[in-house]
C-alpha cells in the first residue's frame, strides 16, 4: 500500500510539476493594451502604396496629382481623464506608407481601464520633443531637418514628407514635395520659428478591454479646408517657406479622424 502511495505521489509530481498555473487566468484585468492602426484615404478612396505612382487624385484647386511617397510622424499619445493627470506616452512612430511599415503601433505602456475624456496624439513633434539629433533611429531614416538658418538654425525633424507629380497649368506633368516641418522664417530678424505640430483629438472613449483605434488620414485635406492649395504656386522648396508651413498647419487641423474602435 505504501508503495502504491509513493508511486502515486511520484507520478503526480512528474506529470504536474511543469504545468501552467491556471489561476493566472483569474487575475482581474485592470489595464489594456492599446493599438493604433493608421489608414489613409483620398476622400472616399482608400490609399495604400499599391495606389501610388499614378496620377489619379484631384485636389480642391483642380490639380490632378499622384502620390509617390508618404511618411509622417506621430508622437505623445495622451489619455485624458476627468480629475486626474493625463497619461502621456512619450513615444513616437514614423508611419511609412510608401514601405507599408509602422502602419500599426502598439505602445508598450498599458493603459488603466476606465473612462477617458479624450485620446489624442501629436502629429509631428512639439517643440519639447523636436530636438536635433535626439533620435538615432530617425536620423537613420534621414528624417532630420538640417540645422541651417533657412530652417531656423534649430534642426529637429520632419513632420511629414508627401511627394508626387501633378499636372500644372501648362498641362505638363511636374513634381511636388509637400514637406511639413516646424515653421521657420530664417530671413526674419531675429529668426522666427513656430511650433506647427498638431494635436489630434480622437475624442472620449471608455476603455473596457484591449483596444484598437483606427486613425484615418484624409490626404485630400492637406490641400483644402481652409486653405485651397495651388500646387502651381507651392510645389517644392516648401520647408523654408514660413507661410506655406503655416498653411499646412491650417489644413492639417482636419486631416485626421477616428475610424473604427474595437475592444
Amino acid at each position: 500500500m505504501k508503495r502504491f502511495f509513493a508511486l502515486l505521489l511520484c507520478s503526480t509530481l512528474a506529470f504536474t510539476s511543469c504545468g501552467e498555473d491556471l489561476d493566472d487566468n483569474l487575475v482581474l484585468k485592470t489595464e489594456a493594451e492599446t493599438t493604433f492602426n493608421f489608414t489613409h484615404n483620398w476622400d472616399e478612396t482608400e490609399v495604400t502604396s499599391a495606389s501610388f505612382d499614378s496620377i489619379q487624385y484631384l485636389n480642391q484647386n483642380g490639380d490632378s496629382l499622384s502620390i509617390e511617397k508618404l511618411r509622417y510622424l506621430i508622437s505623445d499619445i495622451t489619455f485624458s481623464r476627468e480629475g486626474e493627470e493625463d497619461i502621456v506616452l512619450d513615444i513616437y512612430n514614423l508611419v511609412d506608407v510608401t514601405n507599408s511599415t509602422n502602419l500599426s503601433f502598439s505602445p508598450e505602456t498599458k493603459i488603466p481601464l476606465g473612462q477617458y475624456t479624450n485620446v489624442s496624439f501629436t502629429y509631428g513633434f512639439d517643440d519639447e520633443d523636436n530636438i536635433e539629433n535626439a533620435y538615432p533611429d530617425l536620423n537613420s531614416e534621414n528624417w532630420e531637418v538640417p540645422n541651417i538658418q533657412m530652417f531656423g538654425n534649430i534642426g529637429g525633424y520632419h513632420y511629414m514628407q508627401l511627394e508626387g507629380r501633378f499636372i500644372n497649368n501648362a498641362d505638363e506633368e511636374t513634381t511636388y514635395a509637400y514637406h511639413n516641418i516646424r515653421a521657420a522664417d530664417g530671413m526674419a530678424t531675429p529668426i522666427t520659428t513656430q511650433d506647427t505640430s498638431i494635436q489630434v483629438n480622437l475624442g472620449a472613449i471608455t476603455i473596457t478591454n484591449d483596444i484598437t483605434f483606427q486613425v484615418k488620414m484624409n490626404i485630400a485635406e492637406w490641400f483644402q479646408n481652409t486653405y485651397q492649395w495651388d500646387l502651381n504656386t507651392w510645389n517644392s522648396s516648401l520647408m523654408g517657406n514660413f507661410d506655406a508651413q503655416l498653411r499646412m498647419n491650417e489644413n492639417g487641423q482636419n486631416v485626421f479622424s477616428l475610424g473604427t474602435v474595437t475592444q
Partner: protein, 355 residues
C-alpha cells in the same frame, strides 16, 4: 523491480523541471570580433546590421580578407575582389566600368565599399539586386564578364589548398569548404571596412575646424533653394551620407539601363539607382552608376544645369526644365570643397584593410 520503477519515477520527478543541459564539453569556438563602431555612428545612428547566422569573428574576418585579395576566385586566377575594389581607391577602381578576366567591360561602375553594415534595408549594388553582402559576394565569381569562374572549381581549388581548410575550420568549425562559407567570410571582412575619420567627421566631433568655403559649401548642400542634396544624401546628423535608397537623378531622358526597375519589374522604378555615399569622393572617380562623369566638377555641373527629364525622374529633382538647381560659380566651388571634406585618407591606409 518495483523499487527500481519507483526510483526511476523519483528521478523523473526531480529532474522534470531542470534545464536540459547537456554535459559541457570543451569545444573550439571562433573568437568574437564585434565591429569597432565609431563614436559618431553610435551617437547619431542605430546599430549596424550583423546577420545572426554570420557573426563577426577574428578568424572569419581574417579568412575573408585573405579571400578578398585572392585571385583563386577567378577563372584564370588573375583577378580578385580587390581588382575592382582596391583599398587605395576606397575599395572601388578608377575606370568607368570594370574589365573582367576576358577583357570585357561591364556596364556598371564598381561601387566603393565602406560602412556597408549600416545599410539597414540591405539592398546592395547599384540596382538593389542583392539582398545581403553575403549574396552579393556570390555573384561576381560566376559572372562571365567579371571573374568568369565556377563556384565548384573555386571550392575545389580552396579545398586542395594547403592553408584554406584549416582557416575555414578556425572560422567556421569545419574544414569542408562551401561557397556559402566563403561568401560569409568575405562579408565579415567587408563589414569591417568602416570609414569615419574625415575632416568633416572630426569637425562634427569638435576636433577640427573647417574653412569658410567648406562651411558655405555645407550650406549650399543643405539649402532647399540651392543644392538640396540632403534629401538623398543626408545631413550631418547621419554620418553615412546616403539614404541607401534608389532614385532616378535625371541622367537620361531615355532610360536604357533600368536599374532598380530591372530588378522589381516595376516600370516606375526604371532608371533608379542607389544613392551612393558622398564619403571618399576624392578617391572614387569616375562617378555615377556607369562612371560617366570623370570629375566632381562635372557631377556638380550636371545637378546644376544638366538634368534630363523622364517619367521616373525623382520628385526631389528641381527646376528640371532649366536643367537643375542653377548654382553660382562660387556655390559650385564651395560645394565641391565641402564634399571633399568628407574624404577620409586614413581609410585608404588602414593596415587592417591591406593585402
Amino acid at each position: 523491480m518495483k523499487k527500481g520503477f519507483i526510483y526511476l519515477l523519483l528521478i523523473i520527478s526531480v529532474s522534470a523541471c531542470s534545464k536540459s543541459d547537456s554535459p559541457e564539453t570543451e569545444t573550439y569556438e571562433p573568437t568574437p570580433l564585434p565591429l569597432s563602431i565609431p563614436q559618431l555612428f553610435s551617437d547619431r545612428i542605430i546599430s549596424p546590421v550583423i546577420p545572426n547566422n554570420n557573426p563577426q569573428t577574428v578568424e572569419g574576418v581574417a579568412l575573408g580578407k585573405k579571400l578578398f585579395f585572392d585571385t583563386k576566385l577567378s577563372g584564370d586566377e588573375t583577378m580578385a575582389c580587390a581588382s575592382c575594389h582596391s583599398p587605395q581607391s576606397a575599395f572601388t577602381n578608377n575606370t568607368p566600368t570594370s574589365e573582367g578576366i576576358d577583357g570585357v567591360f561591364g556596364t556598371r561602375n564598381s561601387m566603393p565599399l565602406f560602412n556597408l553594415a549600416w545599410n539597414y534595408r540591405e539592398r546592395f549594388t547599384w540596382d538593389g539586386k542583392q539582398l545581403s553582402i553575403e549574396r552579393q559576394a556570390l555573384e561576381p565569381v560566376e559572372n562571365p564578364i567579371e571573374m568568369h569562374s565556377d563556384w565548384t572549381d573555386v571550392i575545389n581549388k580552396l579545398q586542395s589548398d594547403s592553408e584554406y581548410p584549416e582557416l575555414f575550420r578556425l572560422a567556421f568549425k569545419t574544414s569542408l569548404i562551401t561557397k556559402e562559407l566563403t561568401t560569409k567570410a568575405i562579408a565579415q571582412f567587408e563589414r569591417t571596412l568602416i570609414s569615419a575619420n574625415s575632416r568633416f567627421d572630426r569637425y562634427t566631433l569638435g576636433q577640427e575646424t573647417l574653412t569658410s568655403q567648406e562651411l558655405n559649401g555645407l550650406d549650399v548642400f543643405l539649402r532647399e533653394d540651392k543644392g538640396d542634396c540632403f534629401h538623398c544624401h543626408g545631413t550631418p546628423s547621419n554620418p553615412l551620407w546616403t539614404d541607401n535608397i534608389f532614385h532616378n537623378n535625371g541622367l537620361d531622358t531615355n532610360v536604357t539601363d533600368l536599374g532598380l526597375g530591372g530588378v522589381t519589374g516595376d516600370s516606375n522604378d526604371n532608371g533608379k539607382f542607389k544613392s551612393p555615399s558622398l564619403r571618399n569622393l576624392a578617391y572614387t572617380a569616375p562617378y555615377m552608376h556607369d562612371g560617366r562623369f570623370e570629375t566632381l566638377d562635372q557631377v556638380i555641373e550636371f545637378y546644376s544645369t544638366g538634368l534630363q527629364n523622364s517619367t521616373t525622374i525623382d520628385v526631389l529633382m528641381k527646376n528640371i526644365d532649366n536643367g537643375g538647381v542653377q548654382l553660382s560659380t562660387q556655390d559650385k566651388a564651395d560645394l565641391k570643397a565641402f564634399l571633399l571634406s568628407l574624404s577620409d585618407p586614413s581609410f585608404l591606409t588602414n593596415p587592417d584593410f591591406q593585402e
